[in-house]
Symmetry: C2
Subunit: 210 residues, 2 copies
């Protein structure tokens, strides 16, 4: 056993070294191309120690992002049930998270992502691999349309967060969750499952690119 892997599992320096290496790897190479083995190598620890601390690559990524919640637990719960109610359920759960203490951590995360390119890359990877992919797994419809549908829904939800919690524009900042669910739920529903005439004009279902 080398000195490095012999460190106590609870060593905060080791934990922090793994998170720093993970943050760099996820931002540089993206979530899919990053392995626990490569993060361990660049942190100078045994891969078993990374597994021991964080459990899985998903959990390591959430810890590296300092994500205040795990979409892997939340998203399947929201998407279970009637697909026609998914917009309202998503907005309601989303506001519940952002109105809670986790929302404060979320605002901090968002501020960093807006001003720092590597943090923006991490947020992008987070949205795609932890949130949108999971939403897409549970939705009906043409698979090829789902990436644009998911990112349109994400644009409305992010805009709501910006106006309510960051810019704090009234009356959105003080409106009840019920009023916002009634206003924004149908938007998210249409983006995810509704008729988007004129958006997918390519017969292959692909969105036209600039």
């Amino acid at each position: 056993m080398t000195r490095r892997t012999g460190r106590r599992p609870g060593n905060p320096d080791t934990r922090e070294a793994i998170l720093t290496a993970a943050r760099a790897a996820f931002a540089d190479r993206g979530f899919d191309a990053t392995t626990i083995r490569s993060v361990a190598a660049s942190a100078g620890v045994d891969p078993a120690l990374v597994h021991h601390y964080f459990g899985s690559k998903d959990k390591l990524f959430l810890a590296a992002m300092q994500a205040p919640l795990d979409p892997g637990e939340l998203v399947p719960r929201i998407l279970a049930g009637d697909p026609e109610g998914v917009g309202e359920r998503l907005v309601r759960a989303f506001l519940g998270v952002w109105d809670s203490p986790a929302g404060t951590a979320g605002v901090a995360l968002l501020r960093t992502a807006v001003t720092t390119e590597w943090a923006a890359r991490l947020l992008r990877e987070f949205l795609v691999t932890q949130v949108l992919r999971r939403i897409q797994e549970h939705l009906p419809g043409d698979r090829r349309q789902l990436p644009l549908r998911g990112s349109l829904a994400a644009s409305q939800l992010l805009g709501l967060v910006m106006m309510r919690y960051v810019i704090r524009l009234e009356p959105v900042a003080s409106a009840t969750p019920q009023a916002l669910v009634a206003a924004v739920g149908p938007t998210v529903q249409r983006y995810l499952t509704g008729d988007l005439a004129g958006v997918f004009d390519d017969p292959a279902g692909a969105v036209a690119h600039r």
Copy 2:
């Protein structure tokens, strides 16, 4: 004539002193409570000089914000014509601005507003007094509903900007303006003029507050 008001109108130091005083005043007291006279006093110049440099309080505010465009010119053009097409026209014009060089300045403005409280206050004042008020003046419908309707539309447009130009989430980042107008236009239309059942449950048209 005092030494101060005797400065050449083109003096960049004087101009910058006025803008600094204006920025502080608009952020501290808001747009409506700020006067050209009070800005001139705190910059130590004659009010006539502020008029001479900037023309009006609106123009002074836009210069203080470093706003890349004047909504006072853009918004009335977009809102003229069929109210049922206002959503698509607004999204099309909005993407036109953000896809242009003005968009780069806009992203810089947004980054500052997300990380600095006084800049967030300026952006809020900008949205309310320069954009939303003008939109509300041109829209049909119950006046009491318009502030929430306008801020919902602003939330979708800001979210689109965030995803397309700041976070750069695909496929929204590369989608054609046409596809995004077809996707997001109906959302903005519904927020501004459509049926928002369940949002205004108060008979007075007020939105419930937290």
